[in-house]
Symmetry: C2
Subunit: 297 residues, 2 copies
């Protein structure tokens, strides 16, 4: 068995330390220095020869984080690492899985090619798989998908009395149904129509009644907040109580939070896959479980 | 012969239009839209099937520009382009051509691998080739290097009476010697010692006399401005006149310009490989000459 080393890209130090504790494996420094001209210098500060190197990165806002990540992976390989894996709890670019208009780049596929060219292994949490059936459709490296549903269901059972789960669109059904089953709660999904980045419209299916339960809007990603705000408006308009919003990946900014608050959302709880003030549900334990077999290989 | 199309990445529209005029070839829109969550959407707005697609990009501050470039190239290939080339007048990451300290990533090689994986052809101006003998050492695609020396020499002959060219270090000798020969001017190079990103020390070789000529400091890249400021101080200390600074690639910020002004620099003139207020020397004609054979292939 090879000795594993965990290395954090900038911003992922806390997750790397938590994983190191779970896995009883050293977390070592990875220096990323930006030169005055905007180029990045990456340096592994530990001997990696013969070891399993696990890079840990929060890949929200990915465009300027990806080159340093690829540079680190290339360096680890060149310096003799036995394998180089990546823990990216949020996997970006998964939503562009089709040419929605002629001439568009299918960035999910290009991004997958780039990561696959530098890494041996990928672990992520609930990637946005909609048109791609699995990561294997675009990633040519081994990958392991961790479902946040057990952690979310546990949080719901502990924090929200008598919930009814609501997905804002059909894409969210996979997450909503799984969490609802684990939490022993009823669920439904809305129908969504998207007219632009920030222009979405949703409606409840006919005949669904909250029955005095607390509505919990569940989605994989909160981004602009428009979808969930629209869903909250729709619930309020139908006479439901103030909803709780639960999501795996928190990509929203302050404007998005304001929007959700104005829409009558009582509370937002997200998993800590992307560092955010709304993080309430930890997934490091689930990630560590997924990583153990790889570190032991 | 295939019909060429020129497409500008954001910020390179002007160069793309100039090249289109030189090459009598259409310049077509390339949309790069940034979603609120920081991911990029790239869209080719023109049919590219069977055509030579020439992407034009200013790759200074490369980290967040590189993914959109690779996405555009992948999309062009997927949509049937006969070939996809890149005009990047400034080629970034060339200076990290060695592990200067243990564990460092050799980013020039990784960056070359990334570009080579999406493109068929690369045209650039005076890449910083120091330890790599040529681009072919790290780029696996066809490449063409354009020398800015003819344009710089022509500018010098027109703008600076009786120049003596001075390179700030031995790495600059290749550019200084070529420009001096073309401009019919004497030249020398200083010895440089680098102690950090912003800490450099230079000295003149013994016995060099300006003989009343205007000193012209010549380098391939002006970045922090520290090397050329130190060189200007050295010249002033040796009793030379106020120098003109000429460089191919202008990566310096306002602080760097202040530094050069305080060091007694009379004037800064750079090539337009990186858009900058100091741009005085156009290279589009030289780039167009290098591109004609490719477009005709």
């Amino acid at each position: 068995m090879s000795i594993g080393i965990i290395m954090a890209l900038p911003g992922a130090e806390r997750l790397a330390e938590t994983l190191a504790q779970h896995l009883q494996c050293p977390a070592c420094a990875l220096d990323v220095h930006r030169f005055p001209d905007g180029e990045s210098l990456v340096r592994l500060r530990t001997e990696v020869r013969g070891r399993h190197v696990l890079l840990v990165a929060h890949l929200d806002r990915p465009d300027d984080k990806t080159l340093p990540l690829l540079f680190a992976a290339d360096a680890a390989r060149e310096l003799g690492a036995a394998q180089v894996g990546l823990v990216a709890p949020y996997l970006p670019y998964m939503r562009q899985d089709e040419r929605f208009r002629p001439g568009e780049a299918i960035t999910s596929r290009s991004y997958a090619r780039l990561l696959s060219s530098s890494l041996d292994f990928l672990v992520t949490v609930d990637p946005h798989l909609h048109r791609w059936p699995s990561l294997d459709a675009i990633y040519t490296i081994r990958s392991r998908v961790v479902a946040a549903a057990p952690a979310i269901a546990e949080w719901l059972v502990r924090e929200v009395p008598r919930p009814i789960l609501v997905g804002p669109d059909s894409e969210s059904e996979q997450w909503v149904a799984d969490v609802a089953r684990r939490a022993g709660a009823p669920w439904t999904v809305m129908a969504k129509e998207r007219r632009g980045d920030r222009d979405v419209h949703v409606r409840l299916p006919p005949g669904v009644d909250p029955g005095g339960r607390t509505p919990v809007l569940v989605d994989d990603i909160i981004s602009s907040g428009h979808t969930l705000a629209e869903a909250a408006h729709c619930l309020r308009g139908a006479g439901w109580g103030r909803p709780v919003c639960v999501a795996v990946h928190a990509l929203l900014d302050a404007a998005g939070q304001d929007l959700l608050q104005r829409a009558g959302v009582a509370r937002i709880a997200t998993c800590d896959t992307v560092p955010h003030l709304t993080n309430a549900i930890g997934v490091a334990g689930l990630l560590a479980d997924a990583l153990r077999p790889w570190l032991a290989s």
